[in-house]
Symmetry: C2
Amino acid sequence: MSFINKIIHGDCEDVLRDFPDNSIDLIFTFPPYANQRKETYGGVKPDHYVDWFLPKAEQFLRVLKPTGTFVLNIKERAINGERHTYVIELILGLKKQGWLWTEEFVWHKKNSYPGKWPNRFRDSWERLLQFNKQRKFNMYQESVMVPVGDWADYRLTNLSETDKTRDESKVGSGFGKNISHWVGRKKIYPMNVIHMATECSNQGHSAAFPVDLPNWFIRLFTKKDDLVLDPFIGSGTTALAAIELGRRYVGIDIHEKYCKLARERTSKVQVRLPQFAELSSAYMVLS
Amino acid sequence: MSFINKIIHGDCEDVLRDFPDNSIDLIFTFPPYANQRKETYGGVKPDHYVDWFLPKAEQFLRVLKPTGTFVLNIKERAINGERHTYVIELILGLKKQGWLWTEEFVWHKKNSYPGKWPNRFRDSWERLLQFNKQRKFNMYQESVMVPVGDWADYRLTNLSETDKTRDESKVGSGFGKNISHWVGRKKIYPMNVIHMATECSNQGHSAAFPVDLPNWFIRLFTKKDDLVLDPFIGSGTTALAAIELGRRYVGIDIHEKYCKLARERTSKVQVRLPQFAELSSAYMVLS
DNA sequence: GTTCCGCATGAATCGATAG
DNA sequence: ACTATCGATTCATGCGGAA
């Protein structure tokens, strides 16, 4: 199929019409939020968000395999002092379309945007809504197990991204040793609250989310060589995660500028060694 | 008014009819979740939950002061492999009734119930939905500020639950010193994700939640001598929190058994010293 | 090569002001 | 009256340069 491992320019609703039924294993996306990123995505008004989204979701439903999963990262804005209801209306709309609303994960963003208001605190969490076509779907829980207890937390707080990259350049040497620490350690299944910081220094795209977020869901819901779709690919983070984990990807974006950026970023990345994938999982704080 | 500082037996929908308009400063409640706790609450079926709840909420709306707040602790169950939609439908119903959906806090329960299922992880969070009658309401943000940064984390990780209880019994002595450390320290406002463990030792009531949870919201939305209502009082935890903080309370429960338990527990508690109230706040992990 | 410190910067939100 | 824009508020994080 010609769309494998490509970043395609266009409206996902149109682009996906050319895709065969039941061909995607995981849809992971971080769509433009209502009325945000106006300069880059045109700003869908909150009141029209559901109508804007549902036709696209109909294509998602068609191209997703019966055993596949659709993960939607979203959060409603505060408008006129209240939380807008477009997200919960979207859930109801998707259910009416035939999706099963299997689960809602919480992504706790430790470094949320600063600010102070008389009537609310800083918003530090987002929803990760999981939808499926049927009750039985592929889920590889073992691949996201975490070492039990404080040890993992300690590693995480004390290991900066630069440290990580430095180690990565040594491929396997320094890493092998570290991995040995975990052998024999008791592992547990994570819960449905995910603690992760947002990416601060991003590559010119306004939506900064850490690559570990798609990484985690890709490991959970796909196996090697499975096909991951992000219909709002943006700077390409979902594709990067897929490549690193040895999965195939398709990315779609309505802006040629972001397609270009995503192509540039993905062209520089190679499949990580197996132990690498394992490792990056261990650096996530899950609780 | 004769209902002040009382636990009243009856259906809150009926009991509240005798209450005057605009008399309550904060409604904090942990209602029976749909179809759970069958033996104690008769088990409202998920599909009927909204219809069961809304008439009661109409009374809440009437008795709440215009500057007051309604905080609803709730989480939908997974039924037939999906999250049920009664909670999000309830939000829409309450909005139609005239409530403003101001905010949704996440309570991250660190020690959630263990278990493993083929298609989902352990559920470790609940919603704390905040509703108001108008955009301007009373909010005392300073009362829930937390020490900034790593220092607070350090304190918290290194202070066990037993340490906490032990110190509390010494009323003021050991504590006074610790508090002095915080004076002059930079404090910050918390975010809308609350980290707190569930109460391990529950008092014979099936839904045990930590007293620190109502404590936090009572401090945030009321001042001294304000009136706090819990229309599903259960074992009386909300009332206990109110008493400790020098607020007045009204509790209602449909089961005489729980009314009795709540009366017993509240009769044993006195207003904490001021520094105590402050203190218990500092031990909360908020981020 | 470490550790430490300063600094820019985020899917934010409100209220006021302007059109 | 309703929408669009702007300034003020504010903090965890990663990065780069310095010690």
